[in-house]
Amino acid sequence: MNAPCNILISKVLVLDEAERGDEMLKAFCDETGLVPIRPQKRAAGGVMSILGSNVDLGGILLYEDYGGSGRGIALAREIRHARPELPIFLRRRCVASMAGFDADTATLFRCAYTLDDLSVLRGSIEASVFSRIYPTDLVRDISIMTRESLRTLFTRCEVEVETPYLVKDKIIYGEVFTMIAIESAWCRGYMMLQAAEEQALSLLEPAPEASGRRTFRELNSVLGEATNLIWGGFKNKYVSPSGIVNTVQTQVPIVINHQRRYISFGSEDPQLCFKYVLKDRTRPDAPGVPIYQRFVFNLNWAPESFAENPSVESFVESGELELF
């Protein structure tokens, strides 16, 4: 699918068994831009198995009696222990409050709601999952720039873009291949490209040597150049030369735990993510290969100052030589 890229969505893990409210929750998710994911097994092991994989979640909708009377609360503790970055929204049987919980238990949840009034849930979702405004033009342009860059470098592939989404997850898909600092007067942070090495290697042209095999170093280089092209396009369109500050600016440590596939930029704000699916035209039956792009504006985010750079106008197209 080549989505219009003018809305943002976010995936939520739904741990609820509301027969009467199932349609209601589904409609709520549709209205608010949430994509519900449900585990196949109700047992805590099934839930924790999902949380151990990459699903790029924005949060969790949990029923207090999920898996049995009162068991939802114990599950919430497990989830908080394993994935403290994910906000949990608790559906209660009767009262839309933390009544009956001690202070420690109440801190597990962003809000408590009932099916009788989903406005509480709506407000809490907006405040935590959709808490950042990403300008539609920016979201659309990033996807276009990136798609063109990937098409240039993966010459055998069609590149499709799925609907951009927001995540609070810190567990990443595949491997982080590249990271580049994004610096402007209105935003500061990082962009990353993630992929699974074996799959992505299959998209490169065969090597001219007898083996015909490409190595991870060549994939590193291609994704490095893709990152360069994307950042170049971003900078030419949105970073005014006068907006680049040359003084020493704030930095925070980036925590990367390779074994856990965990990365944290020190910010709890939702990250802007894109999924590109590359399909090899010469192997139409082969599955598409995903490349994930993640923007983390952890050091500065001032979308009210977002503007297209007027100096980008040029009579010379990309790839053509402008003679001086």
Binding site: S221, G224, G232, V316
Partner: protein, 121 residues
């Protein structure tokens, strides 16, 4: 056939540009950054054209171009930039360093083949 030096920290770009130029019959050498490029320009007086990226580690392409003119006092070799940069300020700095042209990536050999032919003749 004329000798051309390709300077880029990306092996993907170096390979793409070098393969295209070799296919057109040029003799091509490569450098991985501006410092490496400057060393190769110093040691090879037969180079006719440098195609260089701007943003590279160790030494950027514009600084390399400035040093070609100021330190090496080599006005004969033509330099064009192949970069994602497109700002007027960068281009002005390039013009001041005597750069002959500017290409915004991605590389499209067929679009510039004629101009390259004139620059190396």
């Amino acid at each position: 056939m004329a000798k051309i030096l390709v300077v880029d920290d990306s092996s993907t770009v170096r390979t793409e540009v070098a393969n295209y130029l070799k296919g057109k019959g040029y003799s091509v050498s490569e450098a991985v950054d501006g410092k490496d490029g400057l060393d190769k320009i110093k040691s090879d007086g037969e180079l006719k054209l440098i195609i260089s990226d701007v943003n590279m580690p160790n030494m950027d392409g514009l600084t390399m171009a400035e040093k070609v003119r100021s330190d090496l006092r080599n006005p004969g070799v033509n330099i064009i930039m192949l970069t994602t940069e497109n700002s007027p300020a960068m281009k002005e700095r390039g013009k001041a360093a005597g750069i002959k042209g500017w290409i915004v990536k991605p590389f499209n050999g067929d679009a510039i083949a004629g101009a390259i032919g004139k620059l190396v003749s």
